[in-house]
């Protein structure tokens, strides 16, 4: 069963077709990178998966459960709300600008959703959060506020926060684009570790070397469409489209 299945996704902003009929399937444990020029709809597509953007047309399925389904005429299929929420809980997200909660400490950021959304008891939430923070290399920063740590550390906390909800699928929206170059490595190392631990991941990125290294599949988007979908070797070495070759040669 596909972890994520997108069918005929359309998303418009006014007259602009940000996503223009995309189909995509992600299998368990697969790491899929989405690359392409800015404005090609990569981030929008990712945000359509966890409903940060409402699709205009299309169907999104998480582990077999439809979370949104809107036909060509714009009719929305009624879905069981409880099942939709349960499916959406399988998604975690990491943002370009981290979006940590500034008024909460590092530890509080990680335990917030487990406590409030899952009503987990505090002791077990804290124990898990401590393990996660150790995993991302921030065991000593529990009581720091986000303003007191570096960008790379913030993004690692954000990853720990997403993992705190024990997602099956991690969506990463340009996770290193807002970082100083010297801080990119530490975040990529954490993501690499997750990829090796068999986490299913969808990563929108401009880090070509990274995409090539960790991805099982690379998707190239242009003008809201998937131009090519293939193995990293294929996309980076002999893409079918000259546009992709152009783009990659500029990026590397």
């Amino acid at each position: 069963m596909a972890m994520v299945k997108l069918a005929n996704i359309h998303k418009y902003f006014g007259d602009v077709k940000a996503v223009d009929g995309v189909d995509l399937e992600v299998t368990p444990g697969e790491v899929v990178s989405i690359i392409g020029p800015s404005g090609s709809g990569k981030s929008t597509l990712l945000r359509c998966i966890n409903q940060l953007e409402t699709v205009n047309i299309g169907r999104v399925e998480i582990e077999g459960q439809a979370v949104v389904e809107i036909d060509d005429e714009g009719h929305r299929t009624h879905l069981d709300k409880g099942k939709v929420i349960a499916a959406q809980k399988k998604l975690g997200m990491v943002f370009q600008h981290f979006n940590l909660f500034p008024h909460k400490t590092v530890l509080e950021n990680v335990i917030e959703a487990p406590l409030v959304v899952n009503k987990e008891n505090r002791r077990s939430a804290v124990a898990r959060a401590e393990k996660l923070l150790e995993r991302v290399g921030l065991a000593d920063k529990h009581n720091a506020y986000p303003s007191q740590i570096s960008g790379g550390q913030k993004q690692r906390v954000a990853i720990a926060r997403a993992l705190g909800m024990e997602p099956d699928i991690l969506l990463c929206d340009e996770p290193t684009s807002a970082l100083d170059p010297e801080l990119v490595g530490e975040v990529l190392a954490v993501l690499r570790d997750l990829a090796h631990a068999n986490m299913t991941m969808l990563v929108v990125t401009h880090e070509m070397a990274f995409a090539r290294e960790i991805s099982d599949r690379v998707i190239f988007m242009d003008q809201g469409k998937v131009l090519e979908d293939g193995s990293p070797e294929k996309i980076f070495k002999q893409p079918d489209h000259p546009r992709i070759r152009d783009f990659i040669s500029k990026m590397i």
Partner: protein
């Protein structure tokens, strides 16, 4: 000295009423203002419009007039409120209008990413507002809220017009009786003490919340 002590005692009695109105207004208007601000920022359009009109009326007319309206004006409709009830109602509704706008601007100043992060973690609307947005908005609205809290101390003096014996009126009574400005000086000192307490409370709060920037 004995004279000063005796009139201070009298003014102190008036001060009690001032404090009562003060706290009733704070306790009544702040939760109302938060609710209204949420209504304006995330409720349906008509609610936003209606609350906009409410703010326009209560920020756009004198508090004194509103006090007259709720105490004298309502009797025309067969509703007669006791002075304290009328004063409390007027102050709560008036201050809620100002505080609503302050909280609204605070809520709207919070980055969209905060909502998205909460949403991506599957937090509900109320969880998001209560745990993520409002605490941050609250901090940002402390400076303008301080102004309102200080103004309220002084606005309580307006209740004399509906016959209530608050701080300033107690002072005025002594002035009329003894024809000396001492009671006014003492009243001024009382007001300064009250506003100083308010300022210090807010300063302490601001300091406490500074930890996270």
């Amino acid at each position: 000295m004995e004279y000063i002590l005796s009139i201070t005692g009298h003014i102190l009695k008036g001060c009690g009423l001032t404090l009562q109105i003060y706290f009733v207004t704070v306790i009544g208007s702040v939760p109302l203002a938060i609710l209204f601000a949420l209504g304006r920022t995330s409720g349906p359009k008509f609610l936003d419009k209606a609350l906009g009109i409410y703010a326009w009326i209560f920020r756009g007319t004198p508090l004194l007039l509103q006090l007259f309206f709720f105490y004298y004006g309502l009797t025309i409709f067969g509703i007669s409120l006791p002075p304290f009830g009328a004063a409390a109602l007027t102050f709560i509704i008036n201050y809620a209008a100002y505080m609503m706008e302050i909280f609204r601007s605070g809520i709207q100043s919070i980055d969209k990413g905060q909502y998205e992060a909460a949403r991506a973690l599957n937090m509900s609307y109320w969880q998001t507002m209560w745990r993520i947005i409002l605490p941050q908005a609250f901090k940002r609205t402390l400076p303008p809220s301080t102004n309102e809290a200080i103004t309220l101390v002084k606005d309580t003096a307006l209740v004399v017009v509906i016959g209530m014996g608050e701080l300033l009126r107690s002072a005025k009574e002594i002035f009329t009786r003894d024809f000396t400005i001492t009671p006014f000086v003492i009243a001024a000192i009382f007001y300064l003490l009250l506003t100083s307490v308010v300022i210090n409370v807010f300063r302490t709060l601001e300091k406490k919340l500074e930890v996270y920037d």
